[in-house]
């Protein structure tokens, strides 16, 4: 009860701070639109490649963009922690009886909420330009949930790295270095069977690809619920690991002060 209330208030705090930055709100709302339409236009002819199955490229791309957005927006979550540490807010919270888990969990919750909203925009836009979601609302819900799950993993990692390094520049470097390759070493933008074999191999171990596979399968025809279950399972395990990492990073931070 207390733990939940503390988590809620930490999350509210971050959400409120973000909503008070009009530029952030505008960018977060426009970014999904740009990605979907830009990638959609750029790779439109992909649908003509022999071996490309399924409908239009936009229809194929939508789950990929949801996944990309999740990774890229969650990666920055740790910035809030760095700011809290530098400003002294973190120390104030640590000398209070706040439930320790609430700090990471609250910021992860904020990140998941942002992802859900952005994903809903992507899906809405995709529908508007003619994409179809074969499993209706249920399929879309699974897609968005998978995006949020992937986001939770990266948000926890970002928080862990943030408290360990306490440097904005380091976090920025790591996030940019990690997210782009992970996105391109996956089937987010390109059908798996059309990927070069080494990328296909690397993608097997890539959580971004797991999310893309599960989300796409839920959205498209010929849904493979077994595949979805296994990928969601992998992601859930990875979430546990990354949450454990964030907790340990936190303990290391506390030992260093």
């Amino acid at each position: 009860m207390t733990a939940l209330n503390h988590t809620k208030h930490v999350a509210l705090r971050y959400i409120r701070a973000l909503l008070r930055q009009p530029a952030w709100v505008a960018i977060s709302l426009v970014q999904p639109v740009i990605w979907l339409l830009l990638f959609g236009a750029l790779f439109k002819r992909t649908a003509d490649i022999p071996g490309f199955s399924g409908g239009s490229y936009i229809e194929f791309l939508t789950p990929g963009v949801v996944v990309m957005l999740a990774v890229s927006s969650a990666g920055w979550v740790g910035m809030g922690f760095i700011e809290d540490i530098n400003r002294g807010t973190m120390d104030r919270l640590l000398v209070s009886p706040i439930w320790r888990g609430a700090l990471n969990l609250g910021s992860v919750a904020q990140s998941m909420l942002s992802i859900v909203i952005q994903s809903a925009i992507v899906v809405g836009l995709a529908v508007a330009v003619g994409a179809r979601f074969h499993n209706g609302v249920a399929g879309v819900a699974v897609l968005i949930a998978v995006g949020a799950l992937l986001g939770a993993i990266f948000a926890s990692l970002s928080n862990g790295v943030a408290v360990l390094t306490r440097q904005r520049e380091t976090l920025i470097g790591i996030v940019t270095m990690v997210t782009l390759p992970l996105t391109f070493l996956s089937s987010a933008l390109m059908q798996e069977s059309l990927l070069p074999s080494w990328i296909r191999w690397a993608a097997k171990f890539n959580p971004v690809n797991w999310a893309a596979q599960a989300g796409r399968s839920a959205a498209q025809a010929n849904t493979d619920w077994g595949l979805i279950a296994s990928r969601v399972g992998f992601l859930a395990l990875l979430l546990l690991a990354s949450a454990a990492f964030a907790t340990r990073a936190f303990n290391a931070y506390q030992r260093s002060i």
């Binding site: 208030h9 509210l12 120390d91 104030r92 000398v95 009886p97 506390q254 002060i257």
Partner: protein, 323 residues
Amino acid sequence: MEAIEASQLSKTYKGGVRALDGLSLEVEAGTIFGLLGPNGAGKSTTVKILTTLSRADSGEARVAGLDVVRDAQRVRRSIGVVGQKPGLDGDATGRENLEMQAEIYGIRGAKRRERVDELLERLGLAEAADRLGKTYSGGMQRRLDVALGLVHRPKVLFLDEPTTGLDPEVRAGLWQEIERLARDEEMTILLTTHYLEEADRLAARLAIVDRGRVVAQGSPDQLKSELRGDTVQVELVESTNGDAVAALHRLPGLSGLSVDGRVLRARAENGAAAVPTVLAALEENGLHVAAATIARPSLDDVYLRHAGRSFEQADGDNRKEAA
């Protein structure tokens, strides 16, 4: 009853910086206790350990009767902390800051509203309550920090350099507030400062800290009276070599002679009686005096005696070490 007891606290940071070296202190409940020392003396580390933020390598500490390691969570419920860095959230309003703090301590609903309004009123933030923390002036931010530390009516309040960086007027206002808190709320307050003046004004008892240890402890008056006598300070027209010291050395009733450029300092049992003989002895040796003053002992003198260097010098030394 002792509200704070620390015994033999030691802590060495990574990289070998020895922050605490067997620091012990006791603070009686309901009093203001000052921890006075230059930058880098170990004051903040002591506060971090007593407030459960950091752990000592060895030694023990109890706050409000609770062990800071074994009973950390209960200690956190009993203490309020105003850190050196502003702890407020600049992206939230003053009211929102206080509301979240109240929730952390389980103060909810109508009680929360009441307590938040009360604190805003009391610290003069009622009008600014719905403005973002980052728009506050330095003094207002500090007052909001104090309010955050008071939300749950702590038994023991820690103020780590509460007035550093504030202009004199704001500082005086905060001093009044701190005095009022100790009086009205029967709170125990541990205050760290590197302003001698602040410790002198606020603290009923104080500990002088140098290089991670307590070098002297007592009430400001006690510490000053231990020094006995007055400080006689003479400013010469020209700077002097050893002549002046040699001239004054033989005078009875003078001790602790020191020279710093044109300034001579000595302690005398009775300053008024000593000045004429000091002046005569100097003139006799051809040393012309520009000014002479007699002062009651200050905490600076106390510090000089116990730490073996003047306060300003220690502050400077430690800054250099830290750099």
